[in-house]
């Protein structure tokens, strides 16, 4: 509005359009900023990986213990072309991904249900709360040993361990999410005649969803950790088994290669979760820090 009247008063004096000029300058500035960010990223990657390669070639760092990028690449190629002692890499990756995925689902499901239940029931949360805190302080990864002793070397104990790790992350977030529900909103729908079920469906769950979804990012990482650690503890197939085998044969390059593979899987899963987040939380106001000042 102001720029419009501004240019009107100066009609005929100057043919400049300040609005579009400012827009152009802003666009150039933004492009320059993103270019500099990408240059920085590439430089960082080259410095780390290149330095690693250089140091190990020169012998300042022993590649027998710490591996070498070029040899990690070779191991990766070997894993995908020749496979492993336990079948093809795809087979093993499939098993691990399956364990992590089902563990993630199970843990999230139970975490959300219990979190919402305890979050909305003060008495229950007061009774169960301390025990959950105690269990949370136990190093749960050790449960993997018990699960393997109890359920054998199959897929199930891995799913269970992944689920246990995921559960606590999701549970605490769901619990907190329910606690943060705007009480005015609850009072409002109750006055309008909502049943407890309707309050949960229309207010509590959508409101806790922000918290729950935020926890899923971390939770998937935990699911992968759970599956891998359980495999290292004892398995017949899986990336964890390949890792523990490589450890036994003093082969750090294969361990690193497995790490790369898992990282790719996790990033993929992360992007799916991001998609879900955008879908479910599209009502949220845009993050202020995202809109950079021009």
């Amino acid at each position: 509005m102001t720029t419009l009247t501004h240019s009107e008063t100066r009609k005929g004096e100057k043919p400049v359009e300040p609005e579009s000029a400012a827009k152009n300058a802003g666009r150039i500035k933004a492009r320059r900023r993103s270019a500099s960010i990408w240059i920085g990223r590439v430089v960082l990657a080259v410095a780390v990986v290149g330095g690693w390669q250089w140091f190990t070639t020169e012998g300042w760092v022993d590649k027998f213990f710490f591996g070498q990028p070029s040899e990690i690449w070779d191991s990766l190629v070997k894993l995908f072309t020749e496979g492993t002692a336990f079948g093809t890499i795809w087979e093993n990756l499939g098993v691990t991904a399956q364990e992590a995925f089902f563990g993630f689902l199970l843990g999230t499901f139970v975490g959300v249900i219990l979190g919402i239940l305890l979050g909305s029931n003060k008495y229950l949360s007061a009774v169960v709360g301390p025990y959950i805190r105690i269990v949370n302080s136990i190093p749960r990864i050790v449960l993997g040993s018990i699960f393997i002793v109890a359920f054998g070397l199959g897929v199930f104990p891995k799913i269970l361990l992944a689920a246990v790790l995921v559960f606590f992350v999701v549970f605490f977030n769901a619990f907190q999410g329910v606690r943060e529900v705007d009480q005015n909103l609850v009072a409002n729908v109750r006055v309008l005649g909502a049943s407890p079920y309707q309050v949960a469906m229309h207010v509590t769950i959508p409101s806790a969803m922000t918290w729950i979804i935020a926890s899923l990012h971390t939770a998937f990482g935990f699911a992968i950790i759970g599956a891998l650690v359980a495999e290292v503890l004892g398995a017949q197939k899986g990336i964890g088994l390949i890792i523990s085998q490589a450890q036994g044969t003093f082969d750090p390059n294969t361990v690193f290669a497995c790490m790369v593979i898992i990282a790719v899987v996790t990033l993929f899963a992360e992007s799916l979760i991001n998609l879900l987040e955008h879908r479910l939380l599209k009502w949220r106001p845009p993050n202020r820090s995202e809109a950079q000042a021009i």
Partner: protein, 284 residues
């Protein structure tokens, strides 16, 4: 229950049903603090709001005004005394009540339309019908064309309009308003007050309106109740005999009768405010 607001012809305001009379008698509410002590929020409050009357409650901060509303709505149960709506004792949530808060209690994850639709949906109205009704109400509060926006995309005044449409869509017998315009700037506040009066004159629910703003109370109400500082009880009740419809609330402020009433009520309120301030200043 009739949920479709029937368009009413202009003329004398409709006579509200007797089911909307609110009788609060001897109402006392004590809360248990986490330490196990009891805290009396309101003591022996007795107020009557006739059906279709606009009643304001004014009092110093923390005198239990909101507590009184919570008892009327049935969200809380009184420790002593009773609330009757339309002659029936309030037990559990009162039927046909709508709430409006200072913080706009809108669903941030629902569109404007979705927010306004909530009332009929919770009553079990079919979705299509609820949508039509909500569209109609958005038009009535001047928000046609904003149906698909989310609350965070609206200004404070627009959010208030949405809240107002959401509160009135079920054609409530009773409208409970807890400082609804407290957070608005002065101009928006005046606009919203006029808007509220207009809609109230069409629907004529009984209104219990909490405010700190004495001008607002006098300009809008038929009856102003002054409450004492904590524990709250009724100090004075003033009937406001300014003619209806009131017209523009900004203009009515300059009328002689308004100033006279406002002056008298302020005399009564002043002591309480000073006392409440002295207590809070002493505690700080």
């Amino acid at each position: 229950m009739n949920i479709t607001p029937t368009p009413r012809p202009p003329g004398p305001p409709p006579k509200a049903a007797d089911g909307a009379r609110i009788e609060v008698s001897g109402l006392t509410k004590r809360y248990l603090t986490p330490k196990g002590e009891t805290f009396t929020a309101i003591r022996d409050v007795t107020v009557t709001v006739e059906a279709g009357q606009f009643c304001s409650i004014v009092g110093p901060t923390g005198c239990g005004k909101s507590t009184t509303l919570a008892q009327v709505s049935g969200l809380e149960t009184p420790s002593a005394g009773s609330v009757k709506v339309g002659g029936n004792l309030v037990e559990g949530i009162t039927n046909g009540v709508s709430y409006m808060f200072q913080a706009d209690a809108l669903f941030p994850w629902k569109s404007v339309l979705g927010n306004v639709m909530m009332g009929p949906i919770l009553l079990g109205t079919p979705k299509r019908q609820a949508t039509d009704l909500a569209r109609d109400w958005l038009r009535r509060v001047g928000l046609a064309g904003f149906e698909d926006r989310f609350p965070h995309q609206l200004s404070g005044g627009m959010r208030k309009r949405v809240a107002m449409a959401a509160a009135l869509i079920n054609n409530p017998r009773i409208l409970l308003m807890d400082e609804p315009f407290g957070a608005l700037d002065v101009q928006t506040k005046a606009i919203m007050q006029n808007e509220l009066l207009k809609l109230w004159e069409e629907l004529r629910p009984s209104v219990l309106f909490i405010t700190h703003d004495l001008d607002e109370a006098v300009a809008l109400s038929d009856r102003v109740v002054i409450m004492t500082s904590s524990p709250g009880s009724v100090k004075d009740v003033f009937d406001i005999d300014l003619p209806r419809p009131r017209g523009n609330v900004q203009e009515i402020r300059h009328e002689e009768r308004f100033l006279e009433l406002q002056g008298r009520i302020w005399e009564s309120l002043k002591d309480e405010v000073t006392r409440a301030y002295a207590v809070s200043a002493g505690a700080a």
